[in-house]
Symmetry: C2
Subunit: 141 residues, 2 copies
DNA sequence: CGGAATTTGTTTGCTCCCCAAACAATCTCC
DNA sequence: GGAGATTGTTTGGGGAGCAAACAAATTCCG
Protein backbone atom coordinates (compact mmCIF):
# COMPACT_ATOMS: atom_id res chain seq x y z
CA UNK A 1 0.00 0.00 0.00
CA UNK A 2 2.70 2.52 0.92
CA UNK A 3 4.52 1.97 -2.40
CA UNK A 4 1.48 3.34 -4.19
CA UNK A 5 1.43 6.55 -2.17
CA UNK A 6 3.10 9.39 -4.01
CA UNK A 7 4.08 11.14 -0.79
CA UNK A 8 5.76 8.03 0.54
CA UNK A 9 7.72 7.28 -2.62
CA UNK A 10 8.72 10.91 -2.83
CA UNK A 11 10.03 10.88 0.71
CA UNK A 12 11.99 7.69 0.25
CA UNK A 13 13.48 8.90 -3.00
CA UNK A 14 14.44 12.24 -1.54
CA UNK A 15 16.14 10.48 1.34
CA UNK A 16 18.12 8.25 -1.02
CA UNK A 17 19.13 11.20 -3.19
CA UNK A 18 20.23 13.13 -0.14
CA UNK A 19 22.38 10.19 0.93
CA UNK A 20 23.95 10.08 -2.52
CA UNK A 21 24.66 13.80 -2.37
CA UNK A 22 26.37 13.42 1.00
CA UNK A 23 28.32 10.37 -0.14
CA UNK A 24 29.49 12.13 -3.29
CA UNK A 25 30.95 14.98 -1.26
CA UNK A 26 32.33 12.75 1.48
CA UNK A 27 34.27 10.70 -1.08
CA UNK A 28 35.80 13.89 -2.45
CA UNK A 29 36.81 14.95 1.06
CA UNK A 30 34.35 17.81 0.96
CA UNK A 31 31.34 18.56 3.12
CA UNK A 32 28.27 20.41 1.95
CA UNK A 33 24.54 20.04 2.36
CA UNK A 34 22.07 20.43 -0.48
CA UNK A 35 20.69 23.53 1.21
CA UNK A 36 24.14 25.10 1.36
CA UNK A 37 24.74 24.35 -2.30
CA UNK A 38 21.46 25.88 -3.40
CA UNK A 39 22.21 28.94 -1.37
CA UNK A 40 25.68 29.39 -2.84
CA UNK A 41 24.35 29.07 -6.38
CA UNK A 42 21.66 31.65 -5.77
CA UNK A 43 24.08 34.12 -4.20
CA UNK A 44 26.57 33.72 -7.00
CA UNK A 45 24.01 34.46 -9.69
CA UNK A 46 22.43 37.29 -7.70
CA UNK A 47 25.22 39.14 -5.96
CA UNK A 48 24.01 41.73 -3.48
CA UNK A 49 20.88 39.76 -2.65
CA UNK A 50 19.31 40.44 0.74
CA UNK A 51 18.59 37.68 3.22
CA UNK A 52 14.84 38.12 2.88
CA UNK A 53 15.02 37.86 -0.90
CA UNK A 54 17.22 34.80 -0.60
CA UNK A 55 14.89 33.15 1.90
CA UNK A 56 11.95 33.76 -0.41
CA UNK A 57 13.83 32.33 -3.37
CA UNK A 58 14.70 29.24 -1.37
CA UNK A 59 11.21 28.92 0.06
CA UNK A 60 12.34 28.94 3.67
CA UNK A 61 11.87 31.21 6.66
CA UNK A 62 14.38 34.00 7.12
CA UNK A 63 15.25 32.65 10.56
CA UNK A 64 16.15 29.31 9.01
CA UNK A 65 18.63 31.06 6.79
CA UNK A 66 20.70 32.57 9.57
CA UNK A 67 22.59 29.48 10.78
CA UNK A 68 23.27 28.37 7.20
CA UNK A 69 24.74 31.76 6.34
CA UNK A 70 26.71 31.70 9.58
CA UNK A 71 28.30 28.39 8.64
CA UNK A 72 29.23 29.48 5.13
CA UNK A 73 30.58 32.77 6.39
CA UNK A 74 32.62 30.98 9.06
CA UNK A 75 34.10 28.84 6.26
CA UNK A 76 35.09 32.01 4.46
CA UNK A 77 32.92 31.29 1.42
CA UNK A 78 30.42 34.09 1.81
CA UNK A 79 30.20 37.61 3.21
CA UNK A 80 27.43 39.81 4.53
CA UNK A 81 28.22 43.30 3.36
CA UNK A 82 26.21 46.15 4.78
CA UNK A 83 24.04 47.72 2.14
CA UNK A 84 24.75 51.41 1.47
CA UNK A 85 21.16 52.11 0.44
CA UNK A 86 19.24 50.17 3.11
CA UNK A 87 20.71 49.86 6.57
CA UNK A 88 18.43 46.98 7.45
CA UNK A 89 19.56 44.61 4.77
CA UNK A 90 22.77 42.76 4.09
CA UNK A 91 24.17 42.49 0.60
CA UNK A 92 25.24 38.87 0.29
CA UNK A 93 28.15 37.88 -1.86
CA UNK A 94 30.67 35.10 -2.39
CA UNK A 95 34.31 35.59 -1.47
CA UNK A 96 36.95 34.64 -4.06
CA UNK A 97 37.41 31.46 -2.04
CA UNK A 98 33.65 30.97 -2.23
CA UNK A 99 33.64 31.31 -6.00
CA UNK A 100 36.44 28.83 -6.28
CA UNK A 101 34.85 26.36 -3.90
CA UNK A 102 31.51 26.62 -5.69
CA UNK A 103 33.17 25.72 -8.98
CA UNK A 104 34.45 22.52 -7.40
CA UNK A 105 31.12 21.84 -5.69
CA UNK A 106 29.29 22.24 -8.98
CA UNK A 107 31.38 19.50 -10.53
CA UNK A 108 30.56 17.15 -7.67
CA UNK A 109 26.88 18.00 -7.96
CA UNK A 110 27.02 17.35 -11.71
CA UNK A 111 28.45 13.88 -11.04
CA UNK A 112 25.80 13.28 -8.41
CA UNK A 113 23.02 14.39 -10.75
CA UNK A 114 24.36 12.23 -13.52
CA UNK A 115 24.38 9.21 -11.24
CA UNK A 116 20.86 9.55 -9.86
CA UNK A 117 19.48 10.17 -13.34
CA UNK A 118 21.49 7.34 -14.88
CA UNK A 119 18.46 5.08 -15.05
CA UNK A 120 16.48 7.65 -17.02
CA UNK A 121 16.66 8.97 -20.54
CA UNK A 122 17.05 12.71 -21.00
CA UNK A 123 13.38 12.91 -21.95
CA UNK A 124 12.38 10.97 -18.84
CA UNK A 125 14.42 13.26 -16.64
CA UNK A 126 12.70 16.30 -18.11
CA UNK A 127 9.34 14.60 -17.71
CA UNK A 128 10.11 13.75 -14.09
CA UNK A 129 11.01 17.35 -13.29
CA UNK A 130 7.87 18.54 -15.03
CA UNK A 131 5.66 16.14 -13.07
CA UNK A 132 7.35 17.08 -9.79
CA UNK A 133 6.69 20.74 -10.47
CA UNK A 134 3.03 20.01 -11.08
CA UNK A 135 2.79 18.19 -7.78
CA UNK A 136 4.61 20.97 -5.97
CA UNK A 137 2.20 23.56 -7.34
CA UNK A 138 -0.86 21.72 -6.07
CA UNK A 139 0.31 21.49 -2.46
CA UNK A 140 -1.30 23.76 0.12
CA UNK A 141 1.17 26.62 0.62
CA UNK B 1 20.08 26.61 -13.20
CA UNK B 2 18.72 25.15 -9.97
CA UNK B 3 15.31 24.48 -11.57
CA UNK B 4 17.01 22.04 -13.94
CA UNK B 5 18.63 20.05 -11.15
CA UNK B 6 16.64 16.96 -10.29
CA UNK B 7 17.86 16.94 -6.72
CA UNK B 8 16.79 20.51 -6.16
CA UNK B 9 13.32 20.07 -7.66
CA UNK B 10 12.89 16.89 -5.68
CA UNK B 11 13.79 18.63 -2.44
CA UNK B 12 11.46 21.55 -3.06
CA UNK B 13 8.62 19.27 -4.05
CA UNK B 14 9.10 17.06 -1.04
CA UNK B 15 9.06 20.11 1.18
CA UNK B 16 5.80 21.35 -0.35
CA UNK B 17 4.19 17.93 -0.07
CA UNK B 18 5.25 17.68 3.55
CA UNK B 19 3.67 21.07 4.24
CA UNK B 20 0.46 19.90 2.58
CA UNK B 21 0.47 16.76 4.70
CA UNK B 22 0.87 18.79 7.88
CA UNK B 23 -1.78 21.31 6.83
CA UNK B 24 -4.24 18.54 6.01
CA UNK B 25 -3.92 17.09 9.48
CA UNK B 26 -3.85 20.45 11.22
CA UNK B 27 -7.14 21.44 9.58
CA UNK B 28 -8.71 18.24 10.85
CA UNK B 29 -7.44 18.95 14.36
CA UNK B 30 -5.07 16.01 14.16
CA UNK B 31 -1.31 15.84 14.36
CA UNK B 32 0.81 13.24 12.63
CA UNK B 33 4.06 13.20 10.71
CA UNK B 34 4.55 11.27 7.48
CA UNK B 35 7.06 9.04 9.26
CA UNK B 36 4.52 8.21 11.96
CA UNK B 37 1.88 7.38 9.36
CA UNK B 38 4.18 5.08 7.43
CA UNK B 39 5.12 3.33 10.63
CA UNK B 40 1.50 2.81 11.68
CA UNK B 41 0.57 1.37 8.30
CA UNK B 42 3.47 -1.06 8.36
CA UNK B 43 2.70 -2.23 11.88
CA UNK B 44 -0.96 -2.72 11.11
CA UNK B 45 -0.26 -4.91 8.09
CA UNK B 46 2.52 -6.79 9.86
CA UNK B 47 1.45 -7.29 13.45
CA UNK B 48 4.18 -8.72 15.65
CA UNK B 49 6.94 -7.04 13.65
CA UNK B 50 10.20 -6.43 15.48
CA UNK B 51 11.79 -3.01 15.65
CA UNK B 52 14.72 -4.08 13.51
CA UNK B 53 12.46 -5.46 10.82
CA UNK B 54 10.42 -2.28 10.91
CA UNK B 55 13.50 -0.07 10.68
CA UNK B 56 14.70 -2.05 7.68
CA UNK B 57 11.32 -1.78 6.00
CA UNK B 58 11.31 1.97 6.55
CA UNK B 59 14.92 2.35 5.50
CA UNK B 60 16.00 4.06 8.69
CA UNK B 61 18.36 3.27 11.54
CA UNK B 62 16.96 1.37 14.48
CA UNK B 63 17.97 4.18 16.82
CA UNK B 64 15.91 6.61 14.76
CA UNK B 65 12.88 4.46 15.30
CA UNK B 66 12.93 4.61 19.09
CA UNK B 67 11.64 8.18 19.63
CA UNK B 68 8.92 7.68 17.01
CA UNK B 69 7.71 4.52 18.70
CA UNK B 70 7.89 6.25 22.07
CA UNK B 71 5.61 9.03 20.83
CA UNK B 72 3.05 6.68 19.34
CA UNK B 73 3.09 4.49 22.42
CA UNK B 74 2.67 7.55 24.65
CA UNK B 75 -0.39 8.44 22.57
CA UNK B 76 -1.78 4.98 23.21
CA UNK B 77 -1.80 4.00 19.54
CA UNK B 78 0.85 1.30 19.65
CA UNK B 79 2.28 -1.26 22.04
CA UNK B 80 5.58 -3.04 22.41
CA UNK B 81 4.76 -6.57 23.52
CA UNK B 82 7.58 -8.79 24.64
CA UNK B 83 8.08 -11.64 22.23
CA UNK B 84 7.64 -15.11 23.74
CA UNK B 85 10.07 -16.70 21.28
CA UNK B 86 12.89 -14.14 21.27
CA UNK B 87 13.57 -12.18 24.42
CA UNK B 88 15.52 -9.54 22.58
CA UNK B 89 12.79 -8.39 20.27
CA UNK B 90 9.55 -6.54 20.79
CA UNK B 91 6.42 -7.60 18.97
CA UNK B 92 4.89 -4.36 17.78
CA UNK B 93 1.16 -3.97 17.42
CA UNK B 94 -1.55 -1.37 17.25
CA UNK B 95 -3.95 -0.89 20.13
CA UNK B 96 -7.69 -0.78 19.36
CA UNK B 97 -7.38 3.00 19.65
CA UNK B 98 -4.47 2.83 17.23
CA UNK B 99 -6.51 0.87 14.69
CA UNK B 100 -9.31 3.38 14.97
CA UNK B 101 -7.01 6.37 14.70
CA UNK B 102 -5.24 4.89 11.70
CA UNK B 103 -8.55 4.50 9.88
CA UNK B 104 -9.14 8.21 10.34
CA UNK B 105 -5.57 9.10 9.41
CA UNK B 106 -5.83 7.04 6.23
CA UNK B 107 -8.79 9.12 5.09
CA UNK B 108 -6.84 12.32 5.65
CA UNK B 109 -3.87 10.93 3.77
CA UNK B 110 -6.14 9.90 0.92
CA UNK B 111 -7.44 13.46 0.67
CA UNK B 112 -3.88 14.77 0.81
CA UNK B 113 -2.74 12.38 -1.91
CA UNK B 114 -5.68 13.29 -4.06
CA UNK B 115 -4.85 16.96 -3.76
CA UNK B 116 -1.15 16.76 -4.56
CA UNK B 117 -1.86 14.51 -7.53
CA UNK B 118 -4.76 16.63 -8.74
CA UNK B 119 -2.67 18.14 -11.53
CA UNK B 120 -1.79 14.72 -12.91
CA UNK B 121 -3.70 12.04 -14.73
CA UNK B 122 -3.75 8.56 -13.21
CA UNK B 123 -1.24 7.46 -15.82
CA UNK B 124 1.02 10.40 -15.03
CA UNK B 125 0.91 9.60 -11.33
CA UNK B 126 1.92 6.02 -12.00
CA UNK B 127 4.67 7.23 -14.32
CA UNK B 128 5.92 9.66 -11.70
CA UNK B 129 6.12 6.93 -9.08
CA UNK B 130 7.90 4.69 -11.54
CA UNK B 131 10.47 7.35 -12.40
CA UNK B 132 11.04 8.18 -8.74
CA UNK B 133 11.71 4.53 -7.99
CA UNK B 134 14.27 4.41 -10.78
CA UNK B 135 16.03 7.43 -9.34
CA UNK B 136 15.96 5.99 -5.86
CA UNK B 137 17.54 2.77 -7.02
CA UNK B 138 20.49 4.53 -8.60
CA UNK B 139 21.49 6.46 -5.51
CA UNK B 140 24.55 5.34 -3.57
CA UNK B 141 23.19 3.36 -0.61
C1' DC C 1 27.84 -28.09 27.39
C1' DG C 2 29.84 -23.55 27.42
C1' DG C 3 32.13 -19.68 25.83
C1' DA C 4 32.43 -16.47 21.69
C1' DA C 5 30.11 -13.91 18.37
C1' DT C 6 25.98 -11.73 16.87
C1' DT C 7 21.57 -9.48 17.25
C1' DT C 8 18.29 -6.30 19.39
C1' DG C 9 16.67 -2.31 21.67
C1' DT C 10 18.26 1.89 24.13
C1' DT C 11 20.83 5.78 25.30
C1' DT C 12 23.79 9.52 24.31
C1' DG C 13 25.77 12.82 21.41
C1' DC C 14 25.83 15.38 17.13
C1' DT C 15 24.01 17.45 12.84
C1' DC C 16 20.66 19.35 9.86
C1' DC C 17 16.32 21.57 8.59
C1' DC C 18 12.15 24.01 9.78
C1' DC C 19 8.97 27.29 11.98
C1' DA C 20 6.98 30.82 15.36
C1' DA C 21 7.47 34.64 18.34
C1' DA C 22 9.81 38.44 20.11
C1' DC C 23 13.20 42.40 19.59
C1' DA C 24 16.07 46.21 18.06
C1' DA C 25 17.40 48.77 14.21
C1' DT C 26 15.98 50.88 10.13
C1' DC C 27 13.13 52.48 6.64
C1' DT C 28 8.54 54.24 4.71
C1' DC C 29 4.48 56.50 4.60
C1' DC C 30 1.57 59.96 6.24
C1' DG D 1 8.04 63.68 13.14
C1' DG D 2 5.59 59.72 14.45
C1' DA D 3 3.08 55.24 13.28
C1' DG D 4 3.57 51.20 10.89
C1' DA D 5 6.15 47.94 8.17
C1' DT D 6 10.50 45.43 7.07
C1' DT D 7 14.92 43.13 8.11
C1' DG D 8 18.07 40.34 10.54
C1' DT D 9 18.79 37.96 14.85
C1' DT D 10 17.83 35.35 18.92
C1' DT D 11 15.36 32.05 21.48
C1' DG D 12 12.60 28.08 21.95
C1' DG D 13 10.66 23.93 20.13
C1' DG D 14 10.10 19.84 16.99
C1' DG D 15 11.20 16.17 13.70
C1' DA D 16 14.49 13.29 11.31
C1' DG D 17 18.76 11.09 10.76
C1' DC D 18 23.29 8.65 11.93
C1' DA D 19 27.23 6.65 14.83
C1' DA D 20 28.98 4.62 18.85
C1' DA D 21 28.58 2.31 23.08
C1' DC D 22 25.97 -0.99 26.29
C1' DA D 23 23.26 -4.64 28.42
C1' DA D 24 20.43 -8.46 27.58
C1' DA D 25 19.44 -12.35 24.90
C1' DT D 26 20.20 -15.59 21.25
C1' DT D 27 22.91 -18.23 18.16
C1' DC D 28 26.99 -20.53 16.70
C1' DC D 29 30.68 -23.66 17.33
C1' DG D 30 34.24 -26.03 19.24
Amino acid sequence: MLPSLLGYVLRRTQSAVFADFAATFARAGEALTPAEFGLLVLVERNAGLSQMALARALGIDRSTLVPILNRLQARGLLVRRSSPTDGRTHALGLTPAGEKALAKFAKLVAAHEKRIASGLSAAETRKLIELLEKVRDKAIP
